[in-house]
Subunit: 243 residues, 2 copies
């Protein structure tokens, strides 16, 4: 069950992030399609907690820096090593494709860091983007780091849906692909999840966290280069982890 008002808080914050200037009650209500009375209550709640203020009289609300301080404290607890973010930038520059770090979230994976390709045709990803854990290269790279029991627990919960001709449709197929990938030395995904999308991943254990490094782009640009790309990622990762 999704908690509507919780989602509305996020929606409101995203709204302000796009807007980048104060909004009156009516503007928020109109733009987000909420009843004025509900908007009134929600803005009131956030204001009462010190998360909204009125920069100028009659120009409406805007978030205080309180959220930023909060988020910074949260993020500083377990930052990614600089060597890793540097590696992402290097990979993007050398390969021209999008690179990122992913982690598990239930039966899905989330990007917790992304460095985007500069090319017009590219894999468009953002921090927070989610995708199924069992049909993505990074998802399987994360699964490979878990014990058999926990992996089974997760895989039992995934809904096997067909996204294309290559999509594996059972736990056994996924387990087999993981085994193959471990032997091969890298994880890959050839349009299992999304047409034309190809990803190459490596497991990235970091302070106990089960993460994955992934480079992804259009199938036609990626396919030929996969082994070389994987080797490059391996080298970069070993260097970064040694640092």
């Amino acid at each position: 069950m999704i908690v509507r008002q919780a989602a509305h808080v996020l929606e409101l914050l995203e709204y302000f992030a796009n807007r980048r200037r104060p909004a009156t009650l009516s503007e928020v209500a109109q733009d987000l399609g909420w009843p004025r009375s509900s908007t009134f209550n929600l803005l009131g709640t956030l204001a009462e907690r010190g998360y909204l203020y009125e920069p100028r009289a009659r120009e409406g609300f805007y978030p205080t820096p309180r959220l930023f301080l909060l988020a910074r404290e949260i993020s500083e607890a377990e930052p990614l090593p600089e060597a890793v973010t540097t590696l992402l930038r290097d990979l993007v520059e050398e390969t021209g494709e999008t690179a990122g770090i992913a982690a598990a979230s239930g039966t899905e994976v989330v990007f917790i860091e992304v460095c985007e390709s500069p090319r017009p045709i590219r894999y468009f990803a953002r921090v927070g983007l989610r995708m199924p854990i069992h049909i993505t290269s990074c998802g399987r790279a994360i699964l490979s780091q878990m014990g058999a029991a926990e992996r089974a627990t997760i895989l039992r919960k995934v809904g096997f849906e067909r996204h294309g001709p290559a999509t594996p449709m059972s736990v056994a197929e996924v387990e087999a692909e993981i085994r193959r990938s471990v032997e091969r030395g890298w994880f890959q995904n050839l349009a299992e999840f999304s047409q034309d999308l190809c990803g190459v991943s490596l497991p990235l254990p970091l302070g106990g966290r089960q993460l994955a490094l992934v480079v992804a782009g259009p199938l036609n640009r990626m396919q030929e280069r996969i082994p070389a790309l994987a080797a490059r990622m391996r080298r970069g990762l070993d260097l970064a982890l040694a640092a």
Copy 2:
């Protein structure tokens, strides 16, 4: 009316900011005193939107950097000039008291920037802290920047409650104090709101925003120094605004 689940989102984020490490469903439910089922729904909602992930299997959830990126975008829209934050630090160093920037939020004021005094006995304030607009020095410094009509609108809504012998109890008294302060050249508050608390403020119009610079501390340390302090603040502010 306060929107419970919206408040819960904030509570949860503050919880993670304090905790600085992942929390399982049960831990959250216990620590925040929520039913497990409700906690389940709330965590699920935030996870689904890409705001939570699981760093390690079976160790529970932690916020992704997505919130941080969001908050940064929001905060970068209208940053305080560096000259202002520098001024705060200088004032704290020279006076030993807490300094901050406040703005309006309905019938209250919120701190949007704070630099705390290092002394053991001090005014304890944080970004997001709120207090009544009509019985604080910074509140009146903000009110003084508004037109008579808007000021009247706000003052009509405040509930005049007695917080001490010096608390003004009517719109007229507040208006009179504002007039006196404008002539005097600074705004002050001698224990009107909180016993022992003394604040000195100056209006700070900044890119159309109606803000206030405030220095506050215990009455006995402040009282003697008010004129000198106000003069120092005036000088600093003029320099900062010129930059």
